[in-house]
Symmetry: C2
Subunit: 346 residues, 2 copies
Amino acid sequence: MVKGNKYGTHRVIEPKGTLPQPALKISNDTVIFDNEILIDVDYLNIDSASFSQLKEEAGGDVGKIKTKILEIVQERGKMQNPVTGSGGMLIGRVKMIGKDLRDKIELNVGDKIASLVSLSLTPLKIEKIIAINPDIDRVEIKGKAILFESGIYAKLPEDMANTLALAALDVAGAPAQVKSLVKEGDHVLILGATGKSGLMCSYMAKKMVGKRGKVIGQARNETRADFLKKTKFCHETIIADVLNPINVLEEVLKANDGVEVDVAINCLSIPNSELSSILPVKDNGIVYFFSMATSFTKAALGAEGIGKDVTMIIGNGYTKNHAQITLDLLRESDTLRRIFEEKYSN
Amino acid sequence: MVKGNKYGTHRVIEPKGTLPQPALKISNDTVIFDNEILIDVDYLNIDSASFSQLKEEAGGDVGKIKTKILEIVQERGKMQNPVTGSGGMLIGRVKMIGKDLRDKIELNVGDKIASLVSLSLTPLKIEKIIAINPDIDRVEIKGKAILFESGIYAKLPEDMANTLALAALDVAGAPAQVKSLVKEGDHVLILGATGKSGLMCSYMAKKMVGKRGKVIGQARNETRADFLKKTKFCHETIIADVLNPINVLEEVLKANDGVEVDVAINCLSIPNSELSSILPVKDNGIVYFFSMATSFTKAALGAEGIGKDVTMIIGNGYTKNHAQITLDLLRESDTLRRIFEEKYSN
């Protein structure tokens, strides 16, 4: 066999010149290239926007959902919902590793992995759908998938339930980015500190700032603030309305001896919180937006409007070793693990 | 008098707790606080979206536009178009500097300046509208405006026409950001290198990378590529379709000895160019989005989809000394100055 393109463009059938994700049809031939990995797939975790659409179209009929999934994969060579454009992730076991990759990656035939790139770009061939569990958007199949050289994945650990690992991997980018951004002695604001990624980021930030630093976690009400205080993930907890930047600024200044913070991390899931992230940060500081509800123009014009010379970073879902870094946090902190088990893994 | 809030919240009348930009009404009292600057205004350069709306509403009648502008400023205390939400900038002379700022800023009474924060947040009182020039969205007035402590402005230079200075100041953030991002020896890709901000960024990048570095400018066709080559602002010029990431990657690799670049700077004005900016950059490299057409989610999910560990930065319209840095480029390069005089200042 020969070497394929790192990003999988060699498998794009239509239209030529695009990447596998925007492509309409890709090849799901199970003969792999020298820099590909073949997976025996056990489960597809369909993205929730996609699964809702499939359920609705099928009027809730599981048989019809099954037929539709088979049709999509037959037609496109990947499980990308044609209406929502989205995919999901898969769980499976490594069947074969292309010879160019064998000594370069820490993966062996037989390892159980979760793919961390979207199904919307992953070549997939379904032999048979075994079962569909509509409550958790999960499809049990017999089939094969291919990971490209650029594809990212995580070995599923032996010491925790798959559901727990998946819940953590879902937000893996955030704590890994915090690890590389936050320096010892920094004063850090976490907006949305009580949510899934907010908790991970708070815990990681507190580790990174050390004894001289400070982590300030924002919660939206008393109940959530009490919950956050009990975790001890932050040095200070503030209650503030993220839609009111002046309120956020004032509460941060109160909690930080009247000084602006070095880094603000936005882990919120609601729009219009750009200025609340920018305003409490000192000049030459960093604002890190992990929220998918962030507006590029509101951030850019917001900072200009108040004359703030801050570096604003678009949260990248991928960082080197992000899966390992994140799973290690669950191993390290019983509190974090217990919260994730209770709230996010089912 | 007393000290006001750095961001001008002390002048917000309605609704309380907001910043001056989103506020419906702010105070345009011309008695200044100790950390404010009073300006004798000569011209308002109304933002083009706003002026188009005013023209349309008035059916092109200059008298009606005049009445409408007076009404808006009377009601809101600032020239913020209630339909578009946008403002513009002003040109005037410094009338008075609050005592807390006098020794802190390089500005003297009588200096001619352009405000670089939006009129949508600047307290303004119009005594009289002298003339309206609808062709260049310009309103000549007698009136006063106030700049807050956080307000940014530029002294208009003696050695160039106001129109030339304004054209350059309009994109001042970009080259100033390039100056701080790009390091000696870097290989840099400029997408949209033939446009207003692209030319500035190319010129600045070539200065910064020095002899060991390389600047690769992208143009969309032969004509534009020829124009770019003649400027000598880039070491290499490529012709590539920014809506085709693979095409961009291939052309960059050809021009860069098969290696990805350290930094990509997006100066385009069209949407869907996120992947074309991310793909040609090496791991741990930087992608800088200056384009207002950038989609936050497309950038975030795009990088994740191809497993790229790059730092993606939201272009901030403001950086310390950005006006000075940018005007100095026009003084330094006759070629740049001539292009700006011919193409952008009228």
